[in-house]
Amino acid sequence: MKLLTVNFLTCAVKGCKGSAASFPLHFEDAELEQREIGYNPTFLSNILPRLDWDAITTTALELGFTNLPATKPDGSFETADEHKVMRDLHTLLMETEVVQGKMVCRNCGHAYQIKEGIANFLLPNHLV
C-alpha cells in the first residue's frame, strides 16, 4: 500500500466518524518496499492540494523518513530545487509501500492488518 493511499484512509469504525484522532492511522511493525512507478508530475499537481501535510509528516516520521519539507510544497516546477522536491515526494508517496504490519486508530484502538500490501478493512458487524 502506497503512502499516498495512507494519506486518505481513515478508521472505518462507526463511532470514529468525525473524530480527529481517527486520522491518520498509525503504523506498527511496518515493513516497507520500494516499487518503481512512472513519474507523473501532472498527477502530483492534481493531488497536491488534497494532501494532508500534517498527516504525511506524521506517517513519514513513524516510518523513519525524516527529511520531509516542513510545509507542503506549492507545486511549482520552475527551479531545479522545486523539481527535486516533487521527485522526492513522488518517491515517498507513490513508490514507498507498506507490505506488512498494521495501522492502528488512535480513537478506538482498532488495528487494520496489512498483508502482502493489502489492508484488511472488514469489520465485525457491531463496529459498523
Binding site: 492534481n46 507490505v99 478493512f121
Partner: protein
C-alpha cells in the same frame, strides 16, 4: 440461469475456484473490459486522476486505468476495494499498479472527505441488494455505501457504476439510495432491449446543477460517440508493459542501495507473486 447474488454472499461465492474461472474466461474479460472503457468515457476525466474502483475484483478495470496514455489524459492511479480475498489474490499475482483493500462496501467507504477525483464500479453493486445476515439489511448497506462514496469524492467528482439489477424494484432501490445520499444521478442503458443491454448508474457529487435529478445527468449522453472513443482508448498503450516484474524490482532495489537508501531485503515475496493472503 440463477443469479450468483442469490446463491451465496460475495466473499464465499468468489472463492479461489470461482475467481480463477472468472478471470480466465476471455469472454468475461472482454465484456468487463468493454464496460470499463465505457465507464471511463462517461467519467469525462480531464487529466491523471485518483480513482476508487468499487468491487475491483482481480483489478481488470484498474489495469485499464493505469494504461491510459498521457495524450488521453492518463495514466490514472487507482485504489481497489473488494470483499473477496481470492479475487484480490489474483490481482496480486498480476502485480497491478493500484492499491488493494479488503473491505465490504456495504460497511462504508473508509476514506476521508474529498479523497477521489472519481469512482468506477463494474458489475458489483447489485450485490448490495442481497444481505443474508439479520443485522444487515439491503437499505442500510446501500445507504452506508452511497453516503460513504459521496463523501469520499471531491466536489464535482463523478462515479459510474455498471450494474445488473435483478428487476425494476432493485434498479430503483439502488438509484434512490444514491440520490438520498446527495448524488445527482442518471441511468444510461446501452443496447437497450437486447441480451447485451448494460446499465450504467452515472453519479455526480455536488457542484453540478443536476443535483437530485435522476434523469438530468445522462441527458444527451446516449449519443456520445462510443465507437471512436473506444478505439482511441484501446490503442492507448494497452500493451504498454509498465508494471515491474521481480527483476525490475530487484534492479530498482540495487539502484536504491547504491544510492544509500535502505530498502527491505529481497524476500521470496518480492514481486508479490503467488502468495495467498489470509487474514
Amino acid at each position: 440461469m440463477s443469479r450468483p447474488e442469490e446463491t451465496l454472499p460475495p466473499d464465499l461465492f468468489y472463492n479461489d475456484r470461482e475467481s480463477r474461472k472468472y478471470t480466465t474466461s476471455s469472454r468475461i474479460q472482454n465484456v468487463q473490459s468493454d464496460m470499463t472503457y465505457r465507464a471511463l468515457e462517461l467519467l469525462q476525466l480531464n487529466g491523471p486522476s485518483l480513482i476508487l474502483d468499487i468491487g475491483c475484483g482481480s483489478g481488470l478495470s484498474g489495469e485499464i486505468l493505469s494504461s491510459v496514455s498521457p495524450v488521453d489524459g492518463g495514466p490514472h492511479l487507482w485504489v481497489g476495494m473488494d470483499i473477496s480475498a481470492s479475487m484480490l489474490d489474483i490481482a496480486l499475482q498480476k502485480n497491478v499498479e493500484g492499491d488493494l483493500l479488503l473491505g465490504d462496501i456495504g460497511q462504508g467507504i473508509p476514506f476521508r472527505a474529498g479523497s477521489f477525483d472519481a469512482a468506477v464500479s463494474i458489475s458489483a453493486i447489485q450485490w448490495l441488494c442481497n444481505a443474508e445476515s439479520s443485522e444487515a439489511n439491503p437499505q442500510g448497506r446501500l445507504s452506508r455505501f452511497f453516503n460513504g462514496l459521496y463523501a469520499s469524492l471531491r466536489r464535482g467528482g463523478r462515479a459510474v457504476c455498471q450494474f445488473y439489477p435483478k428487476n425494476d424494484a432493485q434498479r430503483s432501490l439502488i438509484s434512490s439510495a444514491a440520490t438520498k445520499a446527495g448524488f445527482g444521478a442518471g441511468i444510461l442503458e446501452d443496447d437497450p432491449g437486447t441480451k447485451k443491454s448494460k446499465l450504467y448508474l452515472v453519479l455526480t457529487a455536488g457542484g453540478g446543477q443536476d443535483q437530485g435529478d435522476i434523469t438530468g445527468v445522462v441527458k444527451g449522453m446516449s449519443d456520445v460517440e462510443i465507437q471512436d472513443g473506444r478505439r482511441n482508448f484501446r490503442t492507448a498503450g494497452k500493451k504498454g508493459d509498465r508494471r515491474s516484474n521481480k527483476s525490475d524490482i530487484t534492479r530498482k532495489k540495487e539502484q536504491m542501495e547504491r544510492r544509500g537508501k535502505v530498502t527491505k531485503a529481497s524476500s521470496k515475496y518480492t514481486g508479490r507473486s503467488r502468495r495467498r493472503i489470509v487474514f
